[in-house]
């Protein structure tokens, strides 16, 4: 039986996967200047959570590994590709690049942990506006090392703010396994701040989505924070090629790839059609972005970096 959301979610997840792979290709070709952190293997967390939100009003904060959140939120791969290629037509005019994205109500930044109090402030803003919106902040297992996260857990609970913490625990921070960075179970960290939590393995996007819908509804109705811990795995290197994990470990997780798992529930033809559409769209996005002029200092000064000497 095909789940009513399976096709939609597959399309989003496959789009994320293929976009990330495209970035690796563009990086290898020397088209992408800098770095790129992909979410290959983690698509279920982005798609499962973001689709539980009200895109017309809810607010998202994320950090360096945000392409999946971005695409699930706004579908603007064209803007994202152009951004990573440093084009004027990128969502941030090429200024931000992979780690510093903004569109609509989504904000990302590259300093681990720093966005978390920003999300607290945003949640306070929505509460004061009585907008009914909630704020979601995505953070990684490694980022749970930053003290400001605990300041934020405390504030969100103390002030009863509509803030959903989503911990994407992919077990690693760059090269370091969480057992070398953390004492105890990360899922317990919110407890003393009186923030409830759900922990689940994020192989099945539909299960993630259910949990996220429950979490979002809880935050929206109680007006209080909630903590969703998603056990996931990144199938690609941390950024460009820096992978120290064993082939064995990787193989085990590849066998549990959430994209394949969902794909298996769809008729082959449907899947193929989606895949083909994605290929075509991405090819076009790359061609279009490469044809765009690079961002110029003049327009950057006019738009974002205005300064007077």
């Amino acid at each position: 039986m095909e789940h009513p959301l399976a096709e939609l979610f597959y399309a989003q997840m496959a789009l994320i996967r293929r976009t990330e792979q495209t970035f690796f290709d563009l990086y290898a070709q020397g088209q992408i200047h800098g770095t790129v952190h992909t979410s290959i293997g983690q698509e279920a967390t982005a798609v499962g959570v973001v689709n539980a939100l009200d895109r017309t009003r809810d607010v998202i904060f994320s950090s360096h590994r945000a392409h999946g959140h971005f695409i699930a939120y706004c579908d603007d791969v064209e803007g994202l590709v152009a951004e990573l290629l440093g084009r004027a037509g990128g969502v941030c005019g090429g200024v931000g690049g992979t780690q510093h994205l903004h569109t609509g109500n989504l904000y990302t930044n590259g300093v681990q942990g720093g966005i978390v109090p920003n999300a607290v402030g945003a949640a306070l803003a929505e509460k004061l506006k009585q907008s009914g919106a909630i704020v979601v902040v995505f953070l990684g297992d490694g980022t749970m090392g930053q003290g400001v996260v605990y300041e934020s857990l405390n504030l969100a609970s103390l002030w009863a703010l509509p803030l959903l913490f989503v911990l994407e625990d992919n077990q690693y921070a760059q090269s370091t396994h969480k057992q070398f960075e953390h004492a105890g179970n990360l899922a317990d960290r919110p407890t003393p701040f009186q923030i409830d939590r759900t922990e689940l393995t994020a192989d099945d996007v539909l299960a993630v989505h259910d949990a996220a819908r429950h979490a979002v509804a809880t935050v929206r109705t109680t007006g209080r924070p909630y903590f969703l811990m998603l056990n996931t795995y990144r199938l690609a290197p941390h950024s460009k090629g820096d992978d120290m994990r064993s082939e064995e470990e990787l193989a085990a997780y590849r066998a549990r790839d959430p994209l394949q798992r969902l794909a298996a529930t769809l008729p082959e033809a449907k899947r193929a059609a989606i895949d083909a559409a994605i290929e075509a769209r991405l090819d076009a996005a790359v061609v279009q972005a490469l044809a765009m002029p690079p961002q110029t200092l003049v327009s950057f000064r006019q738009q974002g970096g205005g300064w007077q000497r």
Binding site: G96, H100, Y107, V120, A125, L155, L158, Q308
Partner: protein, 343 residues
């Protein structure tokens, strides 16, 4: 506008301005440690505010990074937060939020957002609070792009300045001074101040020029300083008037970024410049001022720019030491005499 009378103190001027900002702007929000009534903040600048606007004044835990970080989030989402950091020394804990968040978002998102926040904090020594409660750490943020540093001296209408800062679309670090709080503002030619003028720099912030001689005359020396240094400079006016030494004091309020033009004009008037700042002089505010003045005035300067500030060490608790480590009226006086003697 805050109606500043000569009798309004610096703290009262700020306090009234905060209340007026809150009354006029429903998006204004105030947050900080211990700011709720009846306590009303460690230096009482926020006194009365939580009683009048209970739903928009927030006492925070002791968590300076989050005080700034929460303000950034509020500002991104349409509010106009005014945060208080209890002592300026603790702003180092908010440095990442100010530099890598508040000041980054607008430009790195290519102009798509604004972060109109104000972080107010008292800087400065002289109260015997010792090494971690007496610094002038605004220096950390000099020259940080897209962040404004506004410093209120008591030659400025402190409250009006706070309102300007609150209306600025860029993030602002608003530097107050502990020893100025009880002083009456000095906003006109009055007593030893024989002329008093305010111009706006190219960022729209006031630059105050005061002299101890009638406007038409030419100064012997120009003292350029900011913030709490007004407390040290003003007492020299009377004394020097008696000795027929004409002093022009120039106090910009937007100390970073810096518009050198009004300072160069003030400096050119005498050709002899002393820059005074409360922090250590090395790599301080005066370094940029001096570099700018040399570039602008060249041979019009009759002597090297003198930079006065704290000794390059911690600010001790003991009064006997603190007095000597920090710059003082006496040090400025000596520097003026020395400068006049040598040129």
């Amino acid at each position: 506008m805050t109606r500043a009378t000569p009798h309004l103190t610096y703290v009262e001027s700020l306090r009234r301005a905060l209340a007026e900002i809150m009354a006029d702007d429903p998006r204004a929000v105030v947050l900080g440690e211990d700011i709720l009534d009846p306590y009303g903040g460690a230096f009482k600048v926020t006194q009365g505010l939580s009683t009048r606007f209970p739903e928009r004044v927030f006492a925070t835990p002791i968590a300076e990074a989050s005080i700034v970080g929460v303000s950034v989030g509020l500002a991104l989402r349409g509010f106009h937060p005014i945060a208080e950091i209890m002592f300026g020394d603790f702003i180092a804990l908010g440095a990442d939020q100010l530099i890598n968040h508040a000041a980054k978002y607008p430009a790195m998102y290519n102009g798509a957002v604004q972060v109109p926040l104000v972080v107010r904090t008292p800087m400065g020594g002289g109260r015997g609070y010792g090494p971690t409660h007496s610094q002038s750490l605004e220096r950390l943020f000099f020259g940080i792009p897209h962040l404004k540093l506004i410093a209120a001296s008591h030659l400025h209408d402190a409250g009006a300045l706070l309102k300007l800062a609150a209306a600025d679309p860029e993030p602002v670090l608003f530097v107050e001074n502990k020893l100025l709080y009880p002083l009456a503002l000095h906003l006109s030619a009055d007593g030893a101040v024989r002329s008093f003028a305010t111009t706006l720099d190219r960022f729209g912030y006031p630059v105050t020029t005061a002299t101890n001689y009638p406007a038409a005359q030419i100064p012997d020396v120009t003292v350029i300083a900011y913030g709490g240094m007004s407390r040290l400079v003003l007492p020299l006016f009377d004394e020097f008037a008696g000795e027929e030494i004409r002093v022009l004091a120039c106090f910009p309020s937007c100390i970073s970024p810096l518009d050198p033009a009004p300072l160069a004009e003030a400096a050119a008037a005498s050709g002899r410049v002393i820059v005074v700042e409360e922090s250590q002089t090395a790599f301080g505010w005066g370094a940029e001022v001096a570099a700018q003045l040399y570039a602008a005035l060249g041979a019009q300067l009759h002597a090297p720019v003198q930079r006065l500030g704290a000794a390059p060490t911690v600010i001790p608790a003991a009064k006997s030491l603190e007095d000597q480590v920090l710059v003082s009226t006496a040090v400025i006086r000596d520097a003026v005499f020395e400068l006049l003697r040598s040129t």
